[in-house]
């Protein structure tokens, strides 16, 4: 039901109604309300080429040892082998045989140290690029991308989260950027709420009532035109436009053969939906894969779970590359943390944030690379150590957003990313 204004809709509005610009000039530095006034300035900060970001959130904490940074034959290595990939010299876990064949597109970041072993806090840091503090909340990566990356189609939402549960409604994750940049959660690949005409109305009567609404609004706006009333009236036109594009969210419109390739499980379906959304110019999509919190039976669990991921993810990467979208799409695979090198008495691995891996691909990210290094049994980072804040800067820079820039929120300068940190220039081209 809750679809935030896609990023740029206000800019669209701005173009439509030129007068708004100088309203800001007249109203002084502090302009409450709609934020339309500071948008034109924000526009100047934006990347020129249409970019997209997709994040695979490996919920619960993917084991780096059973995926991107295997340590076979060591005390911490566990039962699985490492296999060669399409990039000579880079080996990953044998649980990712299909992804190994896509390594030429990927960049492994193996020196991640986030020093936070709590699920909630770790997830917050990875998705917000900063530690959570009680007195200030920050927008998520999705909200920042939705706001800073110009959308090709402003009537579509810029920030989508695809997850097995979910309401189809608006999230509360945009902090000071406001509800327009909040996520909409598409539960089980269902389209956003309330995007279907009520059953009792015929298309003609629906059109008639909207016409009548327009006429009423026009009369009201003629009495005195204001930005807020204009924006409100316009949101209905956007809603109608979104209803017409409802099929974008319908994964069943994709060929059955593709679903077969991606896997007919939830994750396969959600990953295929992500491809569909990105192809339709949604700026940011996040897909969750649950649940990697394997304190017990880590190996059996990863055997099953990673295989599911391998199939969908490898197909996704291959498709994005063959469809020519890799240059404009940033792909990220992250978790809240990794898992302990130590294997506990239940054959499990516990929470571990000192030395783990994140994977990136596409846009400006180096291809077929492995950056950073852990020691022989994976208990410490030896080289190329980075944290959540470095990664967050890098995600933005990868899609040509200057991460040292700031939002102007009613005269307050709020940096896109942690101003005391910086990106990882070594992996950006």
């Amino acid at each position: 039901m809750k679809v935030p204004y896609a990023c740029g809709s206000q800019e669209h509005l701005l173009a439509r109604r030129g007068f708004l610009g100088t309203v800001a000039a007249g109203a002084g530095a502090v302009v409450g309300g709609l934020n339309v006034f500071s948008e034109s300035q924000a526009m100047a900060e934006l990347a020129s080429e249409q970019k997209r970001v997709v994040v695979f959130n490996m919920h619960g904490g993917l084991s780096q040892l059973e995926s991107w940074d295997p340590k076979p034959g060591t005390d911490t290595g566990g039962p699985f082998r490492a296999i060669p990939t399409s990039v000579p010299g880079i080996h990953i876990s044998e649980l990712l045989p299909l992804t190994a064949q896509q390594m030429q597109h990927l960049c492994l970041v193996r020196g991640v140290n986030t020093s936070e072993d709590d699920h909630g806090k770790g997830a917050y840091m990875m998705l917000h690029g900063r530690r959570q503090t009680p007195a200030s909340d920050y927008p998520t990566l999705g909200a920042v991308v939705a706001r800073t990356v110009t959308p090709a189609d402003p009537s579509l939402p810029g920030h989508i989260v695809v997850t097995p549960g979910g309401s189809g409604g608006r999230g509360n994750d945009a902090a000071y950027l406001g509800p327009r940049y909040s996520s909409i959660t598409l539960g089980n690949g269902q389209p956003p709420q309330n995007t279907e005409r009520p059953g009792a109305l015929t298309p003609e009567s629906d059109a008639a009532r909207h016409d009548f609404r327009r006429k009423i609004n026009e009369r009201f706006l003629n009495r005195r035109r204001t930005a807020v009333a204009d924006a409100y009236a316009y949101s209905y036109e956007q809603a109608l436009s979104l209803m017409q594009k409802r099929e974008i969210f319908d994964v069943s419109k994709e060929p059955a053969a593709d679903l077969e390739r991606y896997g007919t499980h939830d994750f396969g379906r959600m990953t295929l939906l992500a491809r569909r959304l990105l192809e339709n110019d949604i700026s940011f999509v996040q897909v969750s894969h649950s649940n990697y919190d394997t304190h017990n039976e880590n190996f059996n669990f990863h055997l099953e779970q990673v295989a599911e991921f391998d199939r969908s993810f490898s197909a996704f990467v291959a498709d994005i590359a063959t469809r020519g979208m890799l240059d404009s799409t940033l792909i990220v695979v992250l978790s809240e943390f990794g898992r302990t090198p130590n294997i506990n008495q239940y054959y499990g691995r516990d929470h571990w944030s000192r030395a783990w891996s994140v994977v990136m691909a596409g846009s400006r990210v180096a291809r077929g690379a492995a950056y950073g290094k852990t020691n022989a049994n994976g208990t410490a980072v030896e080289d190329g150590q980075v944290d959540h804040a470095n990664l967050f800067h890098t995600y933005l820079q990868a899609v040509a957003v200057d991460s040292s820039n700031s939002f102007d929120i009613n005269g307050r300068e709020l940096p896109f990313a942690d101003p005391s940190s910086h990106g990882i220039p070594e992996i950006l081209t």
Partner: protein, 951 residues
């Protein structure tokens, strides 16, 4: 407006009104201030219907019903607006509305982790019904600890996780209107009014607070307890290595004076497990008392401004949680007046809202003024005067800033003197605390030894008794050896125990001596502490003096800069007003220019057109010359051909003559030959004559050609000149066209400037309360308003009334008792609210900002439109049902009546004739489907901007 309203009322007029015998009401004072400063003397007021909808939404959270509108429009009493305000405020829905306002302001829709929403709302409602002042309410909130009884009051702290930084920020924002967040690690980089010592001063209050689990009933709950505060040090990230003292202080005020307690003496209830500790000196208590004293203008003005925004749509200070000189009030004098009066009336929120509702300012029209020209003309002088004043204010601001700078350095100098002494004091305190621990240990040792003695004493006594009795028994049974042995054993043991007891007593004495030594040492340290304290005192006194000077300098700086910025905004608004005429004149001049340029263009066009004939003539001449040239050339060709032919004949004859003459020489005297020669010669002569003729003809033809060439050249040159001239004229025409286009473009720019200036001016006028502004309905207002206009609320209310009347009918006597009637009204409202409140959630998630985010920013999102357009609930509420607006439309036979029901029911006003026509047409087009059509119409109005906003 029938005549130009000038705005030449000066401050004296206002001052004069204050001297009148009867103290003026606040609403009159407010209007007087506006009148004294407004650029439009008496701006128009809104219509009755608009006023009713506005007041009803503000005071009861819902628009009026159709019947209420009809009654109000029919009422002819002159004071009906004032009466309506009182009527609306007497309703329990006013109390509900105020509770919703306070809830959202205080908690910003944060999740209920420690106190349920029901408990919290009930607590607020009780306070509102008891007519508590804002000061009392704030005091209660700021000093709450969550103990049994008034647990809900602690929600402000507990549901913020009791985090000191979050509380520093939110107490600053919500109670003082100052968001100090950016001054946490350094003086505020953008807002010069906010200093790091403000943040640290507030933080020092909330750092003393902490959460503790306490048993309440059969469960453990979080409570908010407090430590005894002490000086914490902080450094600016900009100036590392310079420690400052973070004494507790309110924003902009002096540091709190705190009594000194020796360690161990600070608490009336010491911190312990499952205990709410109570320090003898509570910083929160001091905060609450200072803030709510009525002396703190930040506290007074913050709430006055928020209540202003509640009624007027925008605060006098627009961003209500960032009062600072660069976010100045639209009217500084008015903000001060409002703050003072609000405090003076014991922070009575009802009274203050009532006064606001009665102002003319509240009743301003929303529509754009029809003609601003007369005001624009009149504003020119005012603008000049205002601009002249700027320099003086600027100078005062510069001076105030310099004073502040000096005061600040003096303060920091004094602080630097104090810091080492405070450090010493802290060390001495620590030493004392350590020694106190030793004293306690020594005392415990004494107590333990004394315990040992008394335990031993008991044994000694019982053994002595037993020994005595055994001795007696042994004496009575002298034969019994065993008994004798036992008696001896007893005697021996008694002796032994006595010795042991003696030893223990000695130990007690030893411990007592040790204790005495530690106490003496403690006393010595106490002396040290007192010595340091004596050293600290004059330094602290000196700092406090500098602090007082600093407070004065800061308040002066903030106020002067605020005045400056406020003044500059006024100048800007006046400039916009002046610009109305300036731009209009520019447009008129531009239209004149366009006319002139158009005339020039017409002339240039004529020049081009007129010249066409000349071009044609020249073209014809050239053509004629070309033809003559062609004719001459042809003639020359003919002449030359004829000449050549003749020449050939001559040559042929010459050859014949030559050979004939050669023959004559061979045959001299041959007559025939002679004759032939003679004939040939004769012939030759003729032929040569003709040849000469032909040659002459050739020459003639040649000269004819030469002549024609000359003429053609002349004609061509003439043609080129004509073409050049034509091009010049076309160019002139094009230039004229360009000038016309440019002028038209400039006109468009000017017209766009005019639109922009108009919009900016209307915004300024709204900000300066000359016009009213649009105010979006809150999530709660949206929910209750939709329930109201679709009849859902009334249906539920009727049900509750019926149930109550059946279960406990009011006696006739009770019906005469206003208290009982009010209690019944409240009960009906509460029960209806309880039945319907489940629907609030979806409106809050759709129309309200996220939890913990500021709740006063408008946003229009697609999901809102989708919810209204396609969501199930709204579709079902707009369906025809028992007497609701949709059903009334269906039942109305005449379309005029249907339109009236629709517009009165949803927009709370009568439809215009055009609107009535539209409704009639809509219904007519749907024929038999009238119920569906009526439902669609109601939906159209609910989803329109006119419904979404208060105006």
């Amino acid at each position: 407006m029938t005549r130009p309203h000038l705005f030449v009322v000066c401050l004296q007029l206002f001052a004069g009104s204050l001297l009148a015998a009867d103290p003026p009401t606040l609403h009159d004072e407010i209007d007087a201030v506006f009148r004294s400063q407004s650029a439009l003397q008496e701006p128009p007021l809104c219509s009755d219907a608009e006023f009713l909808r506005r007041a009803s939404l503000d005071l009861n959270g819902v628009p009026p019903t159709a019947d209420e509108v009809r009654a109000f429009l029919a009422d002819e009493s002159p004071d009906k607006r004032a009466k309506m305000v009182d009527q609306l405020m007497a309703s329990p829905r006013f109390e509900r509305r105020l509770v919703e306002f306070l809830d959202v302001m205080l908690m910003e829709r944060r999740p209920n982790s420690n106190v349920t929403q029901d408990e919290w709302v009930a607590w607020l409602l009780k306070r509102v019904q008891e007519k508590k002042g804002w000061n009392e309410l704030a005091h209660e909130l700021l000093t709450a600890n969550g103990a049994d009884g008034e647990r809900a009051a602690a929600r402000f702290y507990l549901d913020r996780g009791s985090d000191p930084h979050l509380l520093t920020r939110d107490v600053g924002r919500i109670f003082l209107g100052r968001d100090l967040q950016c001054a946490q690690c350094h003086d505020h980089p953008l807002i010069s009014d906010y200093l790091m010592l403000d943040y640290q001063g507030m933080l020092a209050i909330f750092s003393a607070g902490y959460e503790v689990k306490v048993k309440q009933g059969d469960k453990e709950v979080n409570c908010y307890a407090e430590h005894s505060g002490s000086d914490l040090q902080f450094e600016s990230v900009f100036f590392k290595g310079t420690p400052h003292l973070s004494s507790a202080r309110l924003f902009g005020g002096a540091e709190f004076q705190e009594p000194f307690f020796l360690p161990g003496d600070e608490y009336s209830v010491a911190p312990a497990d499952k205990t709410i500790s109570v320090p003898k000196h509570s910083r929160r208590q001091q905060l609450a008392e200072t803030a709510t004293s009525g002396q703190i203008h930040e506290f007074n003005e913050n709430m006055a401004n928020r209540l202003w925004a509640f009624m007027m749509g925008e605060g006098l200070v627009p961003a209500v949680d960032v009062h600072q000189s660069e976010n100045p009030p639209s009217n500084l004098e008015l903000l001060q007046l409002a703050g003072q009066r609000f405090a003076a009336t014991n922070f009575d929120m009802r009274n203050f809202l009532r006064e606001l509702a009665l102002t003319r300012v509240y009743q301003r029209a929303w529509d754009a003024p029809a003609d601003l020209m007369p005001q624009s003309v009149a504003a020119t002088d005012l603008l000049a005067a205002a601009q002249n004043e700027t320099a003086a204010i600027e100078q005062a601001a510069t001076q105030a800033d310099a004073n502040l700078s000096a005061a600040l350095s003096q303060f920091y100098e004094a602080e630097a003197q104090l810091v080492p002494a405070v450090k010493e004091l802290q060390d001495a305190r620590t030493k004392y605390a350590d020694q106190s621990k030793k004293v306690a240990e020594a005392l415990a040792a004494v107590q333990k030894a004394e315990g040992d003695v008394s335990a031993k004493q008991a044994i000694v006594t019982s053994v002595a008794e037993a020994s005595g009795k055994a001795k007696v028994a042994a004496e009575k049974l002298p034969e019994d050896k065993e008994l004798a042995a036992a008696a001896a054993t007893f005697a021996q043991r008694a002796t032994q125990l006595a010795a042991e007891l003696e030893q223990l007593q000695a130990a007690v004495n030893e411990k007592k001596t040790a204790h005495t030594t530690t106490v003496e040492a403690q006393n010595a340290i106490k002396g040290e502490v007192e010595a340091v304290l004596a050293k600290v005192k004059p330094l602290r006194d000196a700092l406090q003096q500098k602090d007082a000077a600093l407070v004065t300098a800061r308040q002066a700086s903030i106020q002067t800069n605020t005045k400056l910025n406020s003044h500059q905004q006024r100048v800007e608004a006046l400039q916009q007003l002046v610009n109305v005429k300036v731009i209009r004149d520019q447009i008129a001049a531009q239209q004149q220019t366009i006319q002139t340029e158009r005339q020039a263009l017409a002339l240039a066009q004529t020049n081009v057109t007129d010249y066409a004939a000349t071009v044609t003539t020249a073209q014809n001449n050239q053509t004629t010359a070309q033809q003559a040239m062609q004719t001459a050339a042809a003639q020359l060709t003919v002449a030359e051909t004829q000449h050549a032919e003749q020449l050939k004949k001559v040559q042929t004859l010459t050859v014949a003559l030559t050979s004939t003459e050669a023959a004559q020489q061979q045959l001299p005297g041959d007559e025939l030959i002679g004759e032939a020669i003679a004939k040939l010669k004769e012939r030759s002569t003729t032929l040569n004559e003709t040849l000469g003729q032909r040659a002459t003809e050739v020459e003639q033809a040649k000269s004819q050609v030469t002549e024609s060439e000359k003429q053609l050249a002349a004609a061509t040159t003439a043609m080129q000149q004509v073409l050049q001239e034509r091009d010049n004229r076309v160019k002139a025409q094009q230039d004229a066209q360009t000038r016309v286009d440019g002028a038209v473009g400039q006109l468009a720019t000017l017209e766009s400037n005019e639109t922009q200036n108009h919009e900016a001016l209307l915004k300024s006028l709204s900000r300066r309360a000359v016009l009213s502004d649009l105010q979006p309905l809150t999530a709660e207002q949206m929910c209750w308003s939709i329930f109201e206009v679709t009849g859902v609320y009334d249906r539920y209310r009727a049900g509750e009334i019926a149930e109550l009347d059946k279960a406990s009918p009011l006696s006739e006597e009770a019906k005469q008792d206003p208290n009982q009637v009010l209690a019944r009204e409240r009960e009906i409202e509460r029960r209806t609210y309880e039945k319907l409140k489940g629907n609030l959630g979806v409106f809050i998630t759709t129309f309200a900002a996220g939890a913990g985010q500021p709740q006063d920013e408008f946003f229009a999102t697609v999901d809102q439109a989708l919810f209204t357009a396609n969501g199930g609930p709204i579709q079902s509420w707009v369906a025809p049902a028992a007497g609701n607006v949709t059903e009334r439309i269906v039942k109305a036979e005449a379309p005029e009546l249907a339109a009236e029901e629709l517009y009165l029911g949803v927009f709370s006003r009568m439809p215009t004739p055009e609107e009535t026509q539209d409704v009639a047409a809509y219904l007519a087009s749907r024929g038999e489907q009238k119920p569906a059509a009526a439902q669609e119409l109601v939906w159209s109005l609910i989803s329109s901007a006119e419904f979404r906003f208060k105006h």
